[in-house]
């Protein structure tokens, strides 16, 4: 979001019951976007016996930003992490129903989760750069997938860092350890690292919860920059953030997808009573 558009969005504030909600500015429709990219059909996720996500049916539209909100423990992160199968790390986790990416079953018997994760990048709650140089961090993914040419790698590194709006800040110290960057820079580095693999989808799992407001604003600007080029899903605790950055919003409550609508609509005119209660702060 540029400074201008933030001003506009402030003009658009709508007063709801007891809370100020910022609406996203009028956004351009994205050409070539809007087709179902990830499709969930009666999709449930279990931790052992516990059903963490219950029979979700949803189409996530390509090249738009979809936010997932809901109180703690509602299954929003679990749902997000199911999309690139990060939940595989938890041994007791299993799923029922179908979750498809580009028409292919993510949890299919023959699905190669490594290839899948290459196409579905992820940025985590806490910035987690590797304890390597900035260059090596970005080049990690491309190298994994067989690229070893130093010149090509350098190009990818620069492109990714530019996309993540980090290039100007770090271009002179690419060989320095990434852990020396600030938290916000580290998080943008993680975005750049994910972009370097050229994914189709970018999953952001509360990417700003560990950052200060200034760094948060930068990440939000970044999401706006990337909108239209990638399908972005962002889990957030912060409803203002969801309203600022997303085109569509999903509201989860106790594992159930309660409401899924255009962000503007969900925040101004929620259909469900529960959604209204949540966004107005009656519970959290």
């Amino acid at each position: 979001m540029t400074a201008d558009s933030r001003e506009t969005s402030q003009k658009e504030q709508v007063k709801t019951a007891n809370r100020e909600i910022y609406l996203p500015s009028e956004r351009k429709n994205i050409s070539g976007g809007g087709t179902p990219h990830v499709v969930a059909k009666d999709f449930s996720i279990y931790y052992g016996e516990f059903e963490a996500v219950k029979k979700v049916n949803a189409d996530i539209l390509s090249r738009y930003v979809t936010a997932i909100i809901g109180p703690s423990g509602c299954g929003k992160s679990t749902f997000l992490r199911a999309i690139n199968r990060m939940n595989d790390l938890i041994p007791s986790c299993h799923t029922t129903g179908a979750l498809r990416f580009d028409g292919e079953d993510i949890y299919g018997k023959f699905t190669d989760e490594v290839l899948l994760r290459k196409k579905i990048g992820m940025v985590f709650q806490k910035p987690n750069p590797f304890p390597k140089s900035i260059f090596d961090n970005i080049a990690y993914g491309p190298r994994l997938h067989g690229l070893n040419d130093r010149k090509q790698l350098a190009e990818i590194v620069e492109r990714s860092l530019r996309k993540a709006a980090l290039w100007d800040e770090v271009s002179d110290r690419l060989d320095k350890n990434a852990l020396g960057l600030s938290g916000g820079q580290q998080q943008r580095l993680c975005v750049a690292r994910a972009l370097a693999v050229e994914p189709e989808i970018l999953l952001l799992d509360e990417p700003t919860s560990a950052l200060d407001p200034k760094a948060t604003a930068k990440i939000e600007d970044l999401i706006q920059e990337l909108r239209g080029s990638y399908t972005i899903m962002i889990v957030t605790h912060n409803m203002q953030q969801a309203s600022r950055v997303s085109d569509y919003t999903m509201f989860f409550y106790e594992g159930v997808l309660v409401e899924y609508a255009r962000t503007a609509q969900l925040f101004t005119n929620p259909k469900d009573r529960m959604t209204e209660d949540y966004i107005t702060g009656r519970f959290s």
Partner: protein
């Protein structure tokens, strides 16, 4: 609890903490100080002409011309001593048989003591054992032997209620009235002229082979043997341990089998080392027949088995302490599990793994029991790298024990034993220091 009591409690804890650290420090000092002092004495000491002769003859070291000169200077005084002996022997012939017999029995020990002190006397057969070919090589030992030469030790059994008391009788007094009586003050006065003590730095102690089971020479075969055994053990145990740790942390599913494996590992870490020694003999030598009898290979394997649980545990802990986020990040970029382990987890766990490895290396270097039956011999020369599969080797830990308890001349070569102890302690200390250094260096590199 009121404020006063709490404060007293806090302070007493601090005091007890400081106190225990101080006690440890003092204990360490008491243990280490003599080791260091005496151990250094095996390299830096006051050496005699005999030492220089020994070095020249056995190791071909030293300035020949200088030695000839020195020996000539010493010979002047030796001649006098030999002359006195000859004179007395001639005098003996003129004595009445009974008196002669009496003096002869006293003269024998004098000759032996003198020979121990300044080396073989003319007219003796050439000794077979090297230790009889030279006099005292160290001045402080020479002074001890001088006392033995001058005074005969006797035991006073007169009072049956108390333990016998040792007392000394001047030999000069025993030969009162004969020509030999001049010998004792002469030797006492001119011993420095005969042995020519001089401050010596004998680095060869660390790099020479031993001569005549450690009576002379150095401890290189032991140092090398220790090195071979410890490094050999690491070669087997380190890769195996790291792989096992990776299996435990990354691949194993929690279950009955896995928990059995884990507890087996913990139990192994607590098995006494002598049991490993016997196991090594029974398994590697008698059953697998990795070598005909004791060998470096068998010893290394035994040590490897002994340190394996420690390495596994250290590596496991190091791997578990790698932030889970690294793994997530790597996997989310489309990395395979194998790749994630090799490029992210193991490098990040490296400081911990290496620390565990080096500490285990130190332990392998210092252990005695596992190699008693599998690798160690008390006396031997340094073995070549090609012989590690078939030859046993001397090793510091075992030879320290051997010199302390089983060596026939243990009391004569305490300095060698101290030297070995210091060498071993230094090696272990050095390894541990390098572990700390390595850890700090890699951690710093990782933290940026």
């Amino acid at each position: 609890m009121n404020l006063g009591t709490r404060k007293i409690l806090d302070r007493s804890f601090t005091a007890v903490g400081f106190g225990s650290i101080a006690v440890m420090g003092i204990a360490l000092l008491i243990v280490l100080a003599p080791i260091i002092y005496n151990g250094i004495g095996s390299v830096f000491f006051t050496g005699t002409l005999e030492h220089r002769n020994m070095l020249f003859n056995e190791f071909g070291r030293g300035d020949k011309e200088e030695l000839v000169k020195e020996n000539a200077a010493s010979e002047v005084y030796r001649k006098q001593i030999y002359g006195m002996l000859d004179a007395f022997e001639a005098e003996l012939e003129t004595m009445e048989p009974e008196k002669k017999q009496d003096y002869l029995s006293k003269y024998g020990p004098v000759r032996t003591a003198l020979q121990t002190l300044i080396g073989p006397l003319p007219g003796e057969e050439t000794a077979i054992l090297t230790r009889y070919k030279y006099g005292q090589t160290r001045w402080e030992k020479a002074e001890e032997k001088l006392h033995e030469f001058l005074y005969e030790a006797k035991w006073d059994y007169s009072n049956p209620d108390v333990m016998a008391k040792e007392y000394f009788v001047s030999r000069a007094a025993e030969f009162e009235g004969t020509s030999l009586v001049k010998l004792f003050p002469y030797v006492e006065k001119h011993l420095p002229d005969v042995l020519r003590p001089r401050f010596t730095v004998y680095w060869g102690f660390l790099t020479d082979s031993s001569v005549d089971s450690h009576i002379f020479g150095g401890i290189w075969p032991e140092i090398q043997g220790t090195f071979f055994l410890a490094v050999g053990a690491m070669l087997f145990a380190f890769p195996l341990g790291v792989i096992a740790a990776v299996y435990f942390t990354e691949y194993a599913r929690e279950g009955f089998f896995n928990s059995i494996l884990r507890s087996a590992n913990s139990t192994l870490a607590g098995v006494p080392s002598i049991v490993f020694g016997l196991f090594g003999l029974a398994f590697f030598i008698n059953t697998l027949k990795v070598s005909e009898s004791k060998s470096v290979l068998a010893g290394s394997l035994t040590l490897a088995i002994m340190i394996l649980p420690t390495i596994i545990r250290a590596a496991e802990e190091a791997i578990l302490s790698v932030p889970k986020t690294y793994k997530e990040a790597s996997l989310s970029l489309g990395s395979t599990k194998w790749n994630t382990i090799m490029t992210v987890i193991l490098p990040a766990a490296l400081p911990g793994i290496l620390t565990g490895g080096v500490i285990s290396l130190g332990r392998a270097a210092g252990e005695t029991a596992p190699i008693i039956f599998t690798a160690a011999v008390s006396v031997g020369s340094a073995i070549g790298l090609a012989d590690v599969f078939s030859s046993p080797t001397p090793a510091l830990s075992w030879n320290i024990y051997n010199l302390a308890s089983e060596h026939e001349a243990a009391a004569e070569i305490r300095h060698v034993q101290y030297g070995m102890v210091l060498a071993l302690v230094s090696i272990v200390l050095l390894l541990n220091l390098s572990a700390i250094f390595l850890r700090a260096r890699i951690s710093k590199k990782l933290k940026g």
